[in-house]
Symmetry: C2
Subunit: 417 residues, 2 copies
């Protein structure tokens, strides 16, 4: 025996065998159909991008680039990165054609994204993410629309609104409220916002201590806490969503969403299930998507939604109904001598678009029938000397105990009727 290679995939990535791929395709299909029902057009780009695109985003991103991306030098001495997020890519693409596009434009994509994470249980180094954005409008109804789109995805998977909560906040409103408390220094506001982003992940005591350090004043800390906990704002966004029939919305002043480039509305969807109580998707409004590439500002709003999170949600709430694509008909030659005849029978059905496969193995026909049942085929057709001589075949249902016989043409007509 020679040395054999491991059959394991590279660390932190997934193989999609047909069972898992069927789930993945089901998720992608519902995502696409929903986005297109809102008038969003699909785009894509390569996973390879110039590394400069991610370096330019400033200090917060330094760490991400240096420690959390796949960045390498190509044979032409170019620094190239496997994209960790889609926003810089779509910004590049919009900037390139900004003069030709009739804004507002609605775009969506389902990119493969890469992040180098230290190996931890369940932490993946790649995933797929639905990205939906509307570019070139600062009207607040665009904010309503993208949240309605995200919401419709859940409904189209059969979810009930009680299964998740939509949390919204507004960076401009927050700035006004901080100013009203006398906190006007931008760095201080940013520090509080960043702290709020970690609020659910740290102890309350630790949070209060950090907040106190930022404000430098016990009384002010109390006022900030009170302000953050008062969450009954009936903003235009909340009212507008309600007008569209979307009522599982909470205005949450402590909602921060990490990225510094959000400038107005921010939102996230949170699972309400006790065992999966976490953020499902997030997004927000930005004043100028294309600032890295152009001086002409393009405002917009969008969100990202990962495939792993989506699947966890569907499994948690027992909403996963995807089935592996099975051939509808299995054609079973009586012996290998009938294999070519079986191909001819199969050809009649597949050229009409009906899924059909041939079991050309050396197994006995009874065993072939059993495997066809296990593989969830709907029908079987046995091909032997009698069938060929008489030009009469039996279409045997594998889901009910019924069968029908006739010429191939008659059987085909029955199936497409």
């Amino acid at each position: 025996m020679t040395n054999k290679l491991s059959t394991q995939p590279y660390k932190g990535v997934r193989d999609f065998y047909p069972d898992d791929m069927a789930v993945q395709q089901y998720i992608f299909d519902v995502w696409s159909q929903t986005a297109e029902s809102f008038g969003y057009a699909r785009y894509d780009a390569s996973v390879l991008e110039p590394a400069d695109m991610y370096k330019a985003k400033g200090a917060e991103n330094e760490e991400m680039i240096n420690e959390q991306t796949y960045t390498f030098t190509d044979r032409g001495d170019r620094e190239v990165t496997l994209r960790p997020e889609m926003t810089p890519t779509v910004a590049r693409m919009v900037a390139q054609k900004a003069k030709e596009l009739s804004f507002p434009i609605r775009w969506y994509s389902i990119p493969n994204l890469f992040r180098y994470e230290r190996a931890q249980k369940g932490r993946l180094r790649e995933h797929w993410q639905l990205n939906c954005d509307i570019f070139g409008t600062d009207d607040y109804t665009a904010d309503i629309e993208v949240i309605a789109l995200a919401n419709q995805i859940f409904l189209n998977f059969g979810a009930d609104p009680s299964m998740y909560e939509i949390r919204v906040n507004d960076r401009t409103l927050m700035t006004r409220l901080y100013h009203a408390l006398g906190i006007t220094d931008e760095d201080t506001i940013t520090a509080i916002t960043r702290l709020n982003d970690r609020r659910d992940k740290i102890e309350k005591k630790e949070y209060l201590k950090a907040l106190n350090t930022i404000t430098g004043d016990d009384r002010l800390t109390d006022e900030v806490i009170m302000m953050l906990d008062k969450s009954d704002e009936q903003t235009d966004l909340v009212v507008g969503l309600s007008e569209l029939g979307i009522n599982n919305v909470v205005f949450d002043k402590s909602l921060a969403r990490g990225f510094d480039y959000y400038t107005g509305t921010i939102f996230e969807f949170k699972d309400t299930a006790p065992g999966n109580n976490r953020s499902l998707l997030g997004g927000g409004r930005y004043d100028n998507l294309t600032s890295l590439f152009s001086d002409t500002p393009v405002p917009g709003i969008g969100f990202g939604f990962g495939d792993v999170t989506m699947r966890d949600f569907l499994e948690t709430h027992d909403l996963l109904t995807a089935n592996i694509t099975s051939p509808i008909i299995m054609v079973l030659p009586m012996s290998t001598e009938h294999n070519l005849l079986a191909q001819k029978v199969a050809q009649t059905f597949r050229t009409a678009g009906i899924g059909v496969a041939v079991d050309m193995s050396t197994r006995k026909v009874g065993k072939k029938l059993k495997i066809a049942e296990e593989q969830l085929a709907e029908y079987a057709i046995i091909v032997g000397d009698d069938e060929v001589t008489n030009e009469t075949y039996v279409l045997k249902s594998l889901t009910e105990t019924s069968e029908v016989s006739g010429t191939l043409e008659q059987l085909l007509n029955k199936l497409i009727a």
Copy 2:
């Protein structure tokens, strides 16, 4: 003005704006539907694979690995490669589950593949490729089936069989023929096969000279040439394809297909158009797919078909009918004050699965209508005070000069009728 980054993508890769993405999706959809009509189940894996997988394939591959792959060392000191082809990946996956699978299995995938090529006009560093394989059978009807599947793809795109030619050859038959000429040394046979692979790319004189060097004998060279040019073999494969109604098949003894791992049938589809006279797809039979990973042999046959080649063929023969996905309805608010009302109107249609978008820009409504036409929407609905007060809207066709009015429910019923 600050320094701005380039909006160009990384060298050798493509951006897919919605127009191009619509073509890409159309190609992928026809590929999937055809493969599934033949009972093939979809699988996928990450673009990242351990570099060892490609190094193990032997000397011919050394150059490819060293000079033509994206291979880099990750932060955990693992050597990782962006996969240049799918076969090693699917071999790994099949080997991992070989004990659980009921062979023959039919699998397909549409992976993204990467190859580092020196920058040349039109040479891409990544593409997408349909891979179809049937594993676990050495029956010759499997060879017929995969060629019939490749053929059906062309027919499903609306191609006529006169637009392409199917060239087949058989490595075992060729070995017998070489033996009959007295050429029994395996290295000599391999050298001739590799030379034949370049036959179309070099001058006839150069070809003859190289062949002479290999055989070392003028008379033998003549006999080899005569043997290669005699192409009237009616093999079981050629006859079987004809039985399925596939007659644009040529047995071509000079067909080589580069890969050393092919052991029986090899085939390629060639464009017959004078301007695009080149190989469109290729494939073949291998005795043991999983030899790198396991001692249990798994035979099979399959092919790969690239998206760029597919698109070139469709454009050459004027078969490209894909349209960008347009919203079916554009909802046009009379002014921005009607934007939320327009969202409510849109919500009625999109929750029923009809593609609908809102133009919430500050443009005048006449201009909005013009843009809706340019964007190939089928209908427009204007939302102003009158419409809202009377609860009566006009569904205006943008493709013919007709319109119909009614409540939103009436209009919806008309559209889904």
